[in-house]
């Protein structure tokens, strides 16, 4: 597509957004007003509903998916422009859903035509909310060791076992799962990828309370659940490939997620000024804090710059495959550094998540501090990331310990 065509597209998109996105939907998102879709979906306001439906009808909930499955069929360049314009106008994301970010892209590659038809459009249209069933209590980082079993019973699989860290499973309609269908070795070779309707008999969930006080996650139990064979995605025992495809998107999603999250009440610098004030030369009142904040901001900025480098390398077809391996460890660690700085600056106000004497915005930051301790654990612990970097980026020799 030529530069002119893209420029034209930008103009059109911008006009469309201005027309269809109500002012109330052009403000930073707050968690309570995110639209997650699903059978039991509710809208926080008429504006939110209108904005969601406008996007849905134009395929903008999944801009790059083919039109026939409910997407808008945009090219990557167009999708990027849409994203930029939405960001510029502060339009809220119309739909949040793991089906959108993770399952859909994997189905596009590995799904049968029937599966695509059945599921993709329901995702785009916000009709079905998906959860992810990967981790198990006894298999954290060691995913290949999963134990949830799907037994071949002729016309269906009989599923037994449990999945942990299933985000909002109690509100989800369907779950995509990795299950064991063979005791083959290596263990990866005995895993299949299965779609399970959570309304099936034998599925139950129980919320997990986090140290931040939230319970976004559940443990999901499968007790003799019958799953039609048509719900197998990819080959039998070929689930590992589907899972890997999907994890690619999880990482992208986690990188993009930042922009979709509720913005904190104050930036770190605003907060520091609020909390410790400035000296007569205009410098932050606490010199240690000042220096540590400078250090953090430099590193935070450098992480975005690393992201940009990766982006431009990709554009120029000069990708260095080692660089993307670094983003998760660097990014999550730096976020935790920032959280600790926030707590240090807040002093007394940073010690409670509940006390109503402290402004809600500050308490949310404290909750975020606690919540973000999971960042270096979920989606591949920092330890596993470092293993991967040593092996793949530095080609260090493999020890007898597998990972």
């Amino acid at each position: 597509m030529s530069q002119d065509q893209l420029a034209l597209f930008r103009t059109e998109v911008s006009a469309w957004l201005k027309t269809h996105c109500p002012a109330s939907q052009r403000q930073p998102i707050v968690r309570e007003e995110q639209i997650w879709g699903g059978r039991r979906r509710v809208f926080p306001s008429a504006d939110a509903k209108q904005w969601f439906e406008a996007c849905r009808d134009r395929g903008y909930t999944a801009p790059e998916w083919p039109v026939e499955y409910g997407g808008a069929g945009l090219t990557p360049e167009q999708a990027k422009i849409l994203k930029q314009e939405m960001a510029r106008l502060q339009c809220r994301p119309p739909l949040y859903c793991q089906g959108l970010w993770m399952l859909g892209p994997a189905l596009l590659v590995y799904g049968s035509e029937a599966q695509k038809r059945e599921h993709l459009s329901a995702i785009c249209r916000g009709e079905i909310r998906w959860a992810q069933g990967y981790s198990e209590p006894s298999a954290g980082s060691d995913l290949a060791n999963l134990k949830t079993k799907a037994e071949d019973c002729g016309d269906h699989f009989l599923v037994n076992g449990t999945k942990i860290w299933t985000t909002k499973a109690d509100e989800a309609d369907w779950i995509f799962c990795l299950v064991r269908t063979s005791d083959a070795s290596p263990k990866q070779a005995g895993i299949s990828f299965l779609l399970i309707d959570m309304a099936s008999e034998g599925v139950s969930t129980s919320p997990i309370q986090l140290i931040s006080g939230e319970s976004e996650f559940c443990q999901t139990f499968f007790d003799n659940v019958q799953v039609p064979k048509a719900n197998l995605v990819g080959e039998l025992n070929g689930g590992w490939a589907v899972a890997k495809e999907l994890l690619k998107h999880e990482r992208k999603m986690m990188a993009a997620f930042d922009g979709m999250l509720e913005k904190p009440a104050m930036s770190l610098l605003e907060l520091a000024h609020y909390a410790v004030g400035v000296d007569q030369d205009g410098r932050l009142g606490n010199s240690e804090l000042r220096s540590d904040i400078a250090q953090h901001l430099m590193r935070e900025q450098a992480i975005s710059q690393l992201g940009e480098r990766i982006y431009w390398q990709g554009k120029a077809k000069q990708s260095d495959p080692r660089l993307p391996l670094l983003m998760k460890h660097l990014g999550t660690t730096e976020t935790q550094t920032k959280d600790e700085l926030i707590l240090r600056a807040l002093g007394d106000e940073g010690l409670s998540m509940e006390d109503e004497c402290v402004p809600e915005g500050l308490r949310k930051m404290v909750k975020q501090w606690a919540f973000n301790k999971a960042l270096t654990i979920a989606g591949g612990t920092s330890e596993v990331q470092l293993n991967i970097i040593a092996k793949r980026a530095l080609s260090m020799p493999t020890s007898e310990v597998k990972s």
Partner: protein
């Protein structure tokens, strides 16, 4: 720097007592109590029965005179179980501000009830976001006293409040007031570690309600009290750190991934070994500070600042690493590790952050 036979025996008794009677579930039970209930009264009366109110009190005042190193050992055991009790607020801060700043007559009048557990007290000092004992605004003026004190531990539960304030003359003083006096509102504030950090508001408190402590060196006595409290808190933190590290090492030794025990991974071994180094390093600094208090050494304040700064950093590290090394379980409320993490961050703010104590250490050592 090591415990004598009596202290060792006391520590063992107390360790067993806390393990049996004050498991962390008992702390968690506070969550369902009204906010002004900052500790379990029954647990506390058992602690009094054990003699924990009199550990450092001289024999002349009917105390056990086991010394600060002895009390530190007890605080360590309390720290292991994250016990919420008036040990710091009343036994250390309240009793000792009386001993350090009060006249003999005042001590003899108020101490016995504290030792017997009939009264508890607390010290109202802090006024700002961060610990800063040098900026006291609350003052007696024209016959009344008004103002707000924060980080007053166990404020709503105590019967006596010692409040640092400027006297009519402009001098620093310690006002002893009964918690139920008119013009005083003591409120609880439950922090994320489930311990209390209450506040006391004076609204036109009448001067006649106040009894000023009459010791000879109020400023010195206050500093001594703060040094004592800081050292004991640091000791408590070391217990918390030790417990967290032990739980983590145990977890790594049991949990299997990739077909081996997590504890066999060398990178994790090195991190645990490093934590252990930090633990014993900080613990040594804490022991030295307690011994200095026992000997009333000249460089006590410097040693106390060093102890608190190292204890802060050590517990911050160990609690963070412990959550991380527990993996997904570490961030759930089901495990207690998150409480250790939260307690750590609360302790950092209590009686001075590392940054505060590094600055104080530098000042005390002339740089």
């Amino acid at each position: 720097m090591i415990l004598n036979a009596e202290q060792l025996m006391m520590r063992e008794t107390v360790a067993q007592f806390f393990a049996e009677r004050a498991p962390i579930s008992r702390l968690r039970a506070l969550e369902h109590e009204p906010i002004d209930i900052s500790y379990d009264v029954e647990l506390w009366s058992d602690m009094v029965a054990l003699g924990l109110t009199g550990i450092t009190v001289p024999e002349v005042y009917d105390g056990l005179d086991f010394g600060w190193l002895g009390l530190g050992a007890i605080a360590q055991e309390a720290g292991r179980c994250l016990v919420a009790s008036p040990l710091l607020s009343s036994v250390v801060m309240g009793q000792n501000v009386l001993l350090n700043c009060g006249s003999r007559a005042q001590i003899e009048r108020y101490l016995p009830a504290m030792l017997s557990g009939d009264s508890t007290s607390t010290l109202a000092l802090d006024e700002g976001r961060a610990f800063d004992p040098d900026s006291i605004v609350v003052a007696e003026r024209a016959g009344t006293m008004s103002g707000r004190k924060i980080r007053v531990l166990d404020a709503p539960m105590c019967s006596l409040i010692f409040s640092v304030a400027r006297r009519e003359s402009g001098e620093l003083g310690v006002a002893l007031v009964s918690a139920d006096s008119r013009g005083i509102t003591a409120s609880g504030r439950r922090l994320m570690d489930l311990h209390d950090s209450g506040s006391v508001v004076f609204e036109a408190l009448q001067t006649e309600t106040i009894e000023w402590l009459e010791g000879l060196d109020i400023r010195g006595g206050l500093q001594k009290t703060l040094d004592q409290a800081t050292a004991v808190l640091a000791a408590e933190m070391m217990g918390t750190a030790r417990e967290a590290l032990e739980r983590t090492v145990t977890f790594l030794g049991e949990r299997e991934q990739f077909d081996v025990k997590l504890g066999t991974f060398q990178a994790l071994q090195h991190r645990c070994a490093q934590m252990y180094c930090e633990l014993e390093l900080a613990d040594s600094a804490v022991a030295a500070a307690l011994v200095a208090l026992d000997h009333d050494a000249q460089n006590t304040s410097s040693l106390v600042s060093s102890a608190k700064a190292l204890a802060n950093d050590c517990l911050t590290l160990i609690s963070s690493e412990s959550v991380q090394l527990h993996g997904g379980m570490g961030v759930t409320e089901e495990m207690d590790m998150g409480l250790f993490l939260k307690r750590s961050r609360v302790c950092n703010q209590l009686l001075g952050s590392s940054s505060y104590h590094r600055d104080r250490y530098a000042r005390l050592n002339g740089f």
